[in-house]
Amino acid sequence: MTETPNYDDKFDAIVVGAGLAGSAAALTMAQKDLEVLVIERGNFPGAKNVFGGTMYTRRVRELTGEDFDDAPVERFVGEKQFSLLSETDETAISMRPGEWHEDHHNDTYTVLRGDFDEWFAEQAEEAGATVITQTTVTDLVRDEDGTIVGVETDRPDGSIRAPVVVLAEGGNSLISEAADLKETDARDEVAIGVKEVRKYGRETIQERFGLGEDDGAAYHYFGKGACGNAVGGGFIYTNKRTLAIGLAYTISDAIQDDRKPDEVLSDFKEHPAVAPLVKGGRVVEYSAKAIPEGGASAVPDLAHDGAVIVGDAASLVLNNGIHLEGTNMAVESGYLAGEAVAEAVEAGRTDADALQGYPDRLEDSYVLKNLENYDWFGDFAHGEKDFLFNVLPEVTAEAEKEFFRQDYEPKETHASRAKSMVIRAMGGWTGAAKKAWKYRKLLQ
């Protein structure tokens, strides 16, 4: 094994992890002429990274300029669908705005992280950053005052020093937790994601989902038919020649299910509304990921003496049921941290106060605004789990069957029966009024 060259004092910043947050930070700092070292534990940037499948790329596009034309995206998302699944029924809302099919496509694409993250790390390299792979950071190095001054790696003599360490190690944030920079999240604040990537003919995917050559679809599923009695949901995203089929649901719920996550995934694929979309093909990858979903209250202190935390490691993931965002927030946090670190390095001070520009910027950005605005959602969803994921998909299907029923009763009778079904499911008029109050934030 090659020894680590003597990098001491060569770098202004070390980035732990060449995922989207890490590469965004590295690119931003390199663009501001900082000397940056990125340390990636995988065989290549992206090799250890897993997500559902849709990326919101606006900041990436702005950071990479014309080079974004060469970004390895799969399909732009031209259609979204949200479905409620009971065990046998589906009720869906589908949207296909014309604007999504025009320039920039609302900056929404399906991507493969193996391709995309490697490309994004190359952008940082082209801007001047150094990226080393197959190297695992095992610990942080501190000076006698406790200031973080570098990292330990698994290379021989693998300790490397720099004024700032950017921790972009992902959701399984072993280094940050071991260094007491953040607490380990509770298991009802972390979701497990499992995903099967299946390969089909390109034509098969296009015909099945009604797509052209470049457009794609993002289908989201909620309810018992997706992942049982759990806060979470399922998804299907169309890539060029593959489908990403998966689930994400809270760990505390997953351990209550008799079925293991791989079985829940197989059951989801067998749902009558899902099976026709995913039949055939062959599995080309099986992956899993822990997703920090604790919301704003789970975000740790972001600036420390000599270090900042970005991306999933900082719990910057939004799940409010409809918006499922993480990779864009990872990029944004990396970008904002990169700017703040550059400022601090320039000023010659990298203690927590000097790095405060990062949390301040994040506070002013959509990232923390959204997390704070939806901080109630997690507790709400867990409190209303049975109604939202079990009762609601069921009663919706019952009511729509009644509403459209073909028999010899007048429509008025069907409509009135459908209405009473819904009212009864909500616990009568009093229950409905209580629900309306409880759900006011969701309805807003």
């Binding site: 094994m1 534990r41 995988g42 065989n43 992206g46 090799a47 250890k48 990274n49 897993v50 997500f51 493969l112 992280r113 193996g114 993250d117 792979t133 197959q134 190297t135 695992t136 095992t138 698994d154 290379r155 959701g171 399984n172 072993l174 380990t184 999240d185 509770a186 298991r187 972390v190 497990i192 994601g193 499992v194 099967e196 990537v197 593959t242 990403a244 760990i251 997953a254 351990i255 299910d257 293991k260 996550p261 791989d262 995934l265 197989s266 694929k269 067998e270 009558p272 099976a275 995913v278 039949k279 062959r282 599995v283 080309v284 990858e285 099986y286 992956s287 899993a288 990921k289 822990a290």
Partner: protein
């Protein structure tokens, strides 16, 4: 009228079939473990086993055993760390690029 349309048959791959599609590089020492055997011996819930999507954690032995750890199946999600109610899971990143390599992600 035509017959009732049937839900198509769906492949239910085993863990092994699913993992077979993945690229994996072995590392000699397990990156997973438990801090205290006694904690597992007293454990009655085996939440590590319930949550694991790749059958890494197994309680195939007698009740009250320390789970077997098939670390070479590990997808590196880390869910077992949070699932264990006793914080008894040792979890380290596999060294020097070993472990799973996701090409699609």
């Amino acid at each position: 009228m035509s017959a009732q349309p049937k839900t198509p048959e769906i492949e239910r791959p085993s863990i092994e079939d699913r993992l077979y599609a993945n690229k994996y590089t072995d590392h000699e020492d397990s990156h997973l473990g438990v801090f205290e055997d006694d904690v597992c011996l007293d454990c009655e819930v085996y939440d590590c086993v319930s949550v694991c999507p790749a059958n890494v954690w197994r309680n195939e032995g007698d009740e009250g055993d320390v789970p077997l750890i098939a670390y070479e199946n590990c997808l590196e999600c880390g869910s077992c760390r949070w699932a264990c109610p006793y914080d008894n899971v040792i979890w380290e990143n596999p060294p020097n690029g070993s472990g799973m390599t996701f090409r699609f992600g």
